[in-house]
Symmetry: C2
Amino acid sequence: MQKPSLPKGTRDFSPEIMYRRQFIFNTIRQIFERYGFQPMETPALENLSVLTGKYGEEGDQLLFKILNSGDFLSEVQSPDFESGYKKLTPKISEKGLKYDLTVPFARFVVMNRHLLAFPFKRYQIQPVWRADRPQKGRYREFYQCDADVVGTDSLLCEAEIVRMIEEVLAGLGIESFVIKMNNRKILSGLAQIAGAEGKETDLAVAIDKLDKIGIEKVREELVERGFTSENLELLLPVLNLQGNFEEKTSQLEHLFSTSETGKQGLAEVRTVMTYLANMGFEHPNLELDISLARGLSYYTGAIFEVKATGVQIGSLSGGGRYDNLTGAFGLPGVSGVGISFGVDRLYDVMEELGLFPENTAVSTQILITALDDKTFAYGLKVLSLFRENGKRAELYPEPVKLKKQLDYANARNIPFVAVLGSEEQANGEISLKNMLTGEQKRMSIAEAMMSYEL
Amino acid sequence: MQKPSLPKGTRDFSPEIMYRRQFIFNTIRQIFERYGFQPMETPALENLSVLTGKYGEEGDQLLFKILNSGDFLSEVQSPDFESGYKKLTPKISEKGLKYDLTVPFARFVVMNRHLLAFPFKRYQIQPVWRADRPQKGRYREFYQCDADVVGTDSLLCEAEIVRMIEEVLAGLGIESFVIKMNNRKILSGLAQIAGAEGKETDLAVAIDKLDKIGIEKVREELVERGFTSENLELLLPVLNLQGNFEEKTSQLEHLFSTSETGKQGLAEVRTVMTYLANMGFEHPNLELDISLARGLSYYTGAIFEVKATGVQIGSLSGGGRYDNLTGAFGLPGVSGVGISFGVDRLYDVMEELGLFPENTAVSTQILITALDDKTFAYGLKVLSLFRENGKRAELYPEPVKLKKQLDYANARNIPFVAVLGSEEQANGEISLKNMLTGEQKRMSIAEAMMSYEL
């Protein structure tokens, strides 16, 4: 017989881990709902026609594809096999597992556009699948927690994303973090003024390395990527961009005198900052980072990324504005903006920093123990009384030795045990044992429920 | 451009439906936890070696199989194609989607047996996938809600299953239902006394039709299935089994004088009834139904099935005891017993009977509306005040015409709207509009929060 195993990159979640994950989910859910987002779900299975081409060529390779059911070979001709797996795949597989929550959400919006009240705000907490090489902190099946608004250009959404990030991290107890904000239009503006329009990604990738490799190496890399000396002359002030939000934006403003796109990006980040100021909070962890690109993928406006400082863990959250996601499904002109939290990263940070509360488990409150069949019958009555009063109670299922039953209570972190003997039964009482202190006292069931916050 | 679509047998859940489903999940979760069950999750993906052979040949056909990633053809030879899809499948697919929650749970127990405190009680609320032909009420991706105990033979577990079913249905407001209970050993006993050992399934299938086709047709069917006249002579009293629990068990006792297995099954259902009586509840909806077989699959003891009466919807819940599920993974001798609720069926019954509470939605409590940029800035302050006090508040993201903003509040079922004009702003007040009555009144924000349970 084969030893059973889990597929690489997947995990079981035991009760202990579930409670901690639920603490994270519940914190996020509560904050999303406070901001007016409503829950939604889409299936794990999507037609490959919906998924393919939305995540770049690499993304297409990372889609998990489902073999058609029944005789999937019935319409395949033998030459199909010889043309290689890439050509064969669409003939034997029509469906795949969803790769993220955003593209299926865009599909949902398009399919239900006549039923939705816009702006439509939804959140989604569901697993996604990527056939990536598994490694520490990277799984093939993992949950995303997304909140998106579609159907409005208002920069209030961007400001609220910053606030939600701050509230979620505060709610989880994560104090040291940085929220990096950028705008796709600022990146376009930079490329424009450098005379290197369309090279936003090259530019961002190079700038991103400034801290690590220094300005000379960045300059070399930009030259390799086809930037001219003239381009670089114009970009130098940007590479040295320093200071707080005000200082950075003033410098950019000067630079963007000839780029309308750049000016607009700058105006957008300023409006977001104004809205945040109007809300009356300080944002010590928010910074403008013009090297932030997030692969650019489908973003067209604001871009966000969140990192915990002081721990070696990748980004906890990321998002931005996309003006044309539903366009891929035939509905142009619907602007969306969203944020996604990675629960695994949040979990790892919280574990590393010891931030999980002691009491995340919804544990059984009292274990009732019987020592023979007669007290077991009495135990059934006691059990019902506790449960009728809404208490989480268990009767150990067999009247075995007390030690075994107490061991079970300890292993399950059950704080109280009711010991039932013939005297307790005769008087309709229980002996209540506090598993922390070891103290034991006889009392009525009503007293036990009242005195011990059972 | 292709119109986007959903794979057959899958569904999106809009916020309205999500809230109703969450009402069902939360009711079940709360009751499971009151009975000492802890949450757990296993991945959607399982190795096919874990799933295959556990659900019969038909089940194997209904497994969704995942195409291996990368060049899945690299080790396939051309003769492999000619031997048909069944032979090719294991060469190009190693993983599948889980078909139920029980088999992956058994795998989990075996893999983690040294870490778990037995008896181990867990619940699981997760989707499963079956490549079944979709039809009304039958989906290819659907949620199951399971609670199982492993590591004890105690019939307390069976009694608690009956109680949990009663509590869940009461919690959902479903009043007319029947819980059918049987025991695999009773079925074996019947086959035994009829001299037709091993034909339990044939027998159960035939008895099951008694109501519909009458005793003569059942007799014919049994003859077709190889039962002799002698067999049938002995079985006749069973086919006419009538009366309440006591009456049925007395008749069976008489019948089982020569079948130890039958006696044991009878003793088990009696013990369950005794435990239930000790708990002090009446069970008007519980009945002994010796025709209940549930395909027998892996059950070895008790069998349960729940149906709503008065509506044309299949079984709401089913379960039973299985003595050897972990045996398939190399760990024999671990008895388990469990119950599974089908959330889609529960949903359909509740919808048909109009049982969903009005207020399942966690809706935004107040929508703040601004009519120009200046009051929008004030709106941001008001918004923050409500949210800081834990209220679910939204500011309409653009200062458009009031009518459009009120339409949004109506579409979203938001009960209160704060209208902000320059006077309100000057006084630090809001005009609070009750969307149900149309009443509108100016007041301070503190007053709004206190007076209206916002």
